[in-house]
Amino acid sequence: MIPSQAFFVVSAILFVIGVIGAITRRNAIIVFMSIEMMLNAVSLTLVTASSTLHSIDGVMFVFFVMTVAAAEAAVGLAIFLLMYRRKNTLKVDEFNLLKG
């Protein structure tokens, strides 16, 4: 049995790579994919915990996380299409209507 710590370390690395991608990139689609990667890393943590503790809760949680991610992808990509139609670009810096 591979110790759960090894999986935790891998998922921590993947999560932080996702965070760095979301911070540094300006293309909205790549930011979106980085967020998906963070979700994926958290899912890996949950499955590891579930497998170590012989309990199904983490697996169920990942199941619902996947559902939410699919819904989010459908709506998010429709929003990206609208953004592109409006400004002809997907750079996140260009979308400053709310003065953020």
Binding site: I2, V10, A74
Partner: protein, 175 residues
């Protein structure tokens, strides 16, 4: 013993592949290349799920994430003309440097905490967490309410996506 060594070998190769492809994903200029490396990362994490003995979720990962979600993303990337985005060099600002340093420190802390402590808690009694039978029967008994809520969420997302992409084209026709 032989199985354990094989598991370690698979684990190390797959996790290195996942880390390398995710680093490539956030560094490639073209969004399409990023999406392809993202698929590789998802497949690698499906293999990690298999190593943890969770076959059903591994299949779901490949079908839903590497299949459906990434197909949607690639579809959108190909519909949009993102050539302009790849022309610009990514500016390195002070905010970004500070952000990267802070997240690396965060990673070190996470690895320290999780690597040292591992997980503690009351262990359950399930023999196998991976087969579709266990998950399915629990999904329709103990987790029935979240399941129904998830179906409503999916319906709302579907209607929302159709509305968002339809309304604009009608306005565009009128203009």
């Amino acid at each position: 013993m032989g199985i354990l060594i094989a598991k370690w070998v698979v684990f190390i190769i797959v996790s290195l592949l996942a880390i390398i492809s995710s680093v490539l994903m956030i560094t490639r200029k073209s969004a399409l290349h990023s999406a392809l490396f993202m698929i590789l990362t998802f497949v690698c994490s499906a293999v990690l799920y298999l190593l943890l003995g969770c076959q059903f979720l591994a299949m779901l990962q490949i079908i839903v994430y590497a299949g459906a979600v990434m197909m949607l993303i690639i579809f959108v990337i190909m519909m949009l003309d993102l050539k302009k985005e790849t022309m610009f060099k990514t500016r390195i600002t002070r905010t970004k440097i500070v952000g990267v340093i802070v997240s690396l420190v965060f990673m070190l802390l996470l690895m320290l905490m999780m690597g040292l402590n591992g997980i503690k808690g009351k262990a359950g009694t399930l023999a196998s967490i991976g087969d579709a039978k266990t998950i399915g029967s629990l999904l329709f008994t103990h987790y029935l309410l979240p399941f129904e809520v998830a179906s409503i969420l999916l319906l709302a997302a579907m209607v929302g996506a159709v509305m968002l992409s339809k309304k604009k084209t009608m306005e565009g026709d009128m203009e």
